[in-house]
């Protein structure tokens, strides 16, 4: 993939950190404002895919390569299941909200809901990137 014109490249290079930061904001405030892990993860994946479309596959794989994407998808799944098993270890039930609840409306509140949001966001972002890389590998042909 060759990439696009210099206008598209410049705009996407300037926009990339802001879109990435917005995705992280959506994820971290998932238990306070509308949004959450799935939505924020898709925004994170879309920011890297935007770089990929503008610059070609090398620039995107310099940010996140295939092995990193696959590993972090498994890491996200492990976070979810690990937090679920933490409830069993503490002797209650699977996926029980075991961490301290905190004060309503603060960023460190709601027990393990923020941690679950972060886990699922890593999983969704890496999963979409993995799908995109796999399809591109077929379509690109010569690379």
């Amino acid at each position: 993939m060759a990439g696009m014109t210099v206008i598209v490249r410049t705009i996407s290079r300037l926009l990339f950190p802001f879109i990435f930061l917005f995705g992280i904001y959506i994820i971290v405030h998932g238990h306070l404002t509308p949004g959450g892990g799935f939505q924020g993860g898709v925004i994170l994946a879309a920011s890297v895919i935007m770089l990929l479309l503008a610059y070609g596959i090398e620039r995107a794989q310099a940010k996140v390569n295939v092995l990193q994407a696959e590993l972090s998808e498994s890491l996200g799944g492990l976070i979810l299941v690990g937090l679920g098993l933490l409830g069993i270890v503490l002797g209650i039930t699977f996926l029980k909200n075991v961490l301290p609840l905190g004060e309503l409306g603060h960023i460190f509140s709601a027990g393990n809901l923020p941690v679950l949001n972060i886990g699922v966001s890593i999983k969704v972002a890496a999963g979409f990137l993995t799908i995109f890389y796999a399809m591109l590998r077929l379509q690109g042909g010569k690379e």
Partner: protein
């Protein structure tokens, strides 16, 4: 001829839908009142809206439903996504390797 029949069916079904919505739709912001066991005039939605911030500590009630009340369901969704990614990766690598 068949166009006239199709148009007539569209008009009849559309009129039926408009009539039903006008006649039976609840006003905006109200809950259906019903009696299940000992819970009279108290639906699941009302209970969750009242209790969720206290029992889960989350200000966003959607997140508290998705990850606390229905955590198994969401874990299953994540599993479906994982399976889909594995399937796509396997399929496209197999096709690429055969060329």
């Amino acid at each position: 001829m068949s166009r006239i029949i199709a148009l007539g069916m569209v008009l009849v079904i559309g009129g039926l839908l408009v009539f039903t919505v006008n006649e039976y739709l609840l006003p905006f912001g109200t809950f259906p009142e019903r009696r299940i066991g000992s819970f009279e005039n108290e639906s699941v939605g009302q209970r969750i809206l009242r209790d969720a911030p206290r029992t889960t500590g989350s200000a966003n009630i959607v997140t508290s439903v998705v990850w606390d009340y229905r955590g198994y369901d969401t874990l299953g969704e994540a599993t479906i996504l994982f399976t889909a990614v594995c399937g796509v990766a396997m399929l496209f690598r197999a096709v690429r390797g055969r060329d």
